[in-house]
């Protein structure tokens, strides 16, 4: 895999030491943000002001408690104006051409008068690794489009934390009038599953190759896909793309019919040459029509909200438990006992819970 060509993994060209970078960035953000009231933020966001949108997302992403409080107030005020968008998740390994695809797809949408926000969920990114620069420089045209808003992945150590920030950013983008939200992710850890749980439509980007690239599909990912798009289907690759299309169609066939009643599609595209993009747009519209009519669209969003409520609670309960130093030590001992075979998992759990 060529990591250097991946937007999310761009690690070059940013050389400042971590600490300076973080501290000064926080300071600049804070000085900016404190000048405006919650009301200022909300009014400007609802007005579609991208600078305020961007600053509000910075507050969401901040680890400063005061920032978070302000962010929560802004979120609460924006909430009634959110939800009116189509949320599209896009995943694919580095090198598959995600940035080029999003640029091409995004330009197509804005040319039709749509407003497109591009967010990312990348648990491996962080400010000092340069993912911000990475993302933006890889979508040269879209980044200058006034109807597009590109925001790199928030940094964070836990996928849950990164995902929470992204979900909250979606709400702000929607309140700011963005009607299409694209969430990009690379297949790091469970990130596709997390993105899948926050979007309406989930698109898997693939490359056609010698055929054995099908081997590399991550567990469960085909099952989540509402569509597989085989990118770079141009020139000599076209034939391979067609073969891959047949194979993927066959693979999709093996799964039970989805609750959405949508039959996942396999399409080919060449994002670089803007080929096949229109069809993908139409397909997603078809999906939205179908699922809005059969109520799946709203049901899924409700289910997603419940899922996020419960998983936030459960994550917090676990964190409280495992971060207790007494538990940390005892857990290490019990795991050792398990490996020696001197206790059962259930007895060990009982002892730990008693602490």
């Amino acid at each position: 895999m060529n990591k250097k060509t991946s937007a999310l993994h761009e690690k070059e060209g940013v050389s400042k030491p971590e600490t300076t970078n973080k501290v000064s960035a926080e300071k600049i953000k804070f000085n900016r943000a404190k000048q405006n009231s919650v009301n200022d933020f909300v009014t400007n966001i609802l007005d579609g002001n991208i600078t305020f949108l961007s600053r509000a997302i910075t507050l969401i992403e901040s680890t400063n408690v005061k920032h978070q409080q302000k962010a929560n107030e802004i979120l609460d005020c924006c909430l009634p104006y959110a939800n009116n968008s189509v949320r599209i998740g896009i995943t694919g390994v580095p090198g598959v051409g995600k940035s080029t695809f999003i640029e091409s797809f995004g330009k197509h949408l804005t040319s039709k008068g749509k407003k497109v926000a591009v967010l990312a969920v990348d648990p491996s990114s962080s400010i000092n690794k340069g993912s911000i620069l990475g993302d933006k420089t890889r979508m040269e045209e879209l980044v200058t489009d006034k109807n597009a808003f590109i925001r790199p992945s928030p940094s964070g150590t836990s996928l849950g934390g990164v995902a929470q920030k992204t979900r909250e950013s979606i709400i702000l983008c929607e309140a700011a009038g963005f009607d299409t939200i694209i969430i990009e992710t690379v297949g790091v850890g469970q990130s596709e599953t997390v993105v899948h749980s926050m979007v309406d439509f989930f698109l898997l980007l693939k490359l056609a190759g010698a055929g054995d690239e099908l081997q590399g599909i991550k567990r469960g990912i085909i099952e989540m896909a509402d569509a597989i798009v085989i990118n770079k289907a141009d020139g000599e690759n076209e034939k391979n793309a067609k073969i891959a299309k047949v194979e993927f169609n066959r693979a999709l066939h093996l799964y039970p019919i989805k609750e959405s009643k949508w039959l996942p599609k396999v399409l080919t595209a060449s994002a670089l040459h803007n080929l096949g993009i229109e069809k993908i747009d139409t397909m997603i519209s078809d999906y939205i029509s179908l699922t809005k009519e059969n109520k799946y669209f709203n049901n899924k969003r409700n289910e997603q909200n419940k899922y996020w409520l419960l998983s936030t609670i459960e994550q917090q309960l676990k964190d409280n438990f495992y971060q207790n130093p007494k538990i940390k030590n005892a857990l290490a001992t019990e795991i050792n006992n398990l490996e020696k075979g001197s206790t059962t998992p259930f007895n060990a759990a009982k002892r730990l819970l008693k602490l």
Copy 2:
């Protein structure tokens, strides 16, 4: 699906009212069990005494705290003698012939001098639903085999609870000298995942049909399978079984190579006519050799123990939280708010955690 022919789902022929049944059953079990000390139990279990094994499992399954304490002491004493077995998970929808397969496979193993214990994980079963009778009457020959021990699924409302009891029963069976433990399950809820997490080898039973039965495969199940056995491959069905074999082989091909380095196999069998059973036995031996050599076997068991330790803890943390009446009420309100769109999942979670 013909529920009546499924062992786990047998619901007929048991007509006693639930309460009488449960109370009297507990009483009989208690009176029996109390006569023997922990030491009696352990000595007899290690001696391979099936009556004591059976009674000890009854203690494990009991909801009575005293019984559970005694069960824990027995477990602790048996633990050093456990672990020396091959644990095989078998799943398949009702009607696929699980009981017939296990009978045929089990007889084959005992004829080679093996000792076979058959346990079940079925979250939908309970004593008064008759799953005990069901299981036992469906394996007429194996049940009378002195080298076989058949125990139906413990009853319970939560899959986690049922699974914990089964896992503890595995330890006792191993201590009693059973060298092959078969865990049967029907695909109810997440039961395959749970069984997968307690076995060394996971076998999916399928039927050959018109071809479109492949559609019905549950999400993720092919990925978990170390082997797919197409049962009832006899008579007119043989041709279909061969076609299905090709299709399943293709499906297995789509997944990345397993951590075990084992390439999942597709075999055909006719359990009713004892065809293909020997090959399945050989295949499982091959798997065990491979994974013992590459250390995966032990690593996986260690991982499974850790998994059960953490999941027991986390389940308990969740239970404590959600069963709090204050939380119950507030949670209902917050879910309502989410559906109305008046709060975010994260703010709702924060409020609930403050309680």
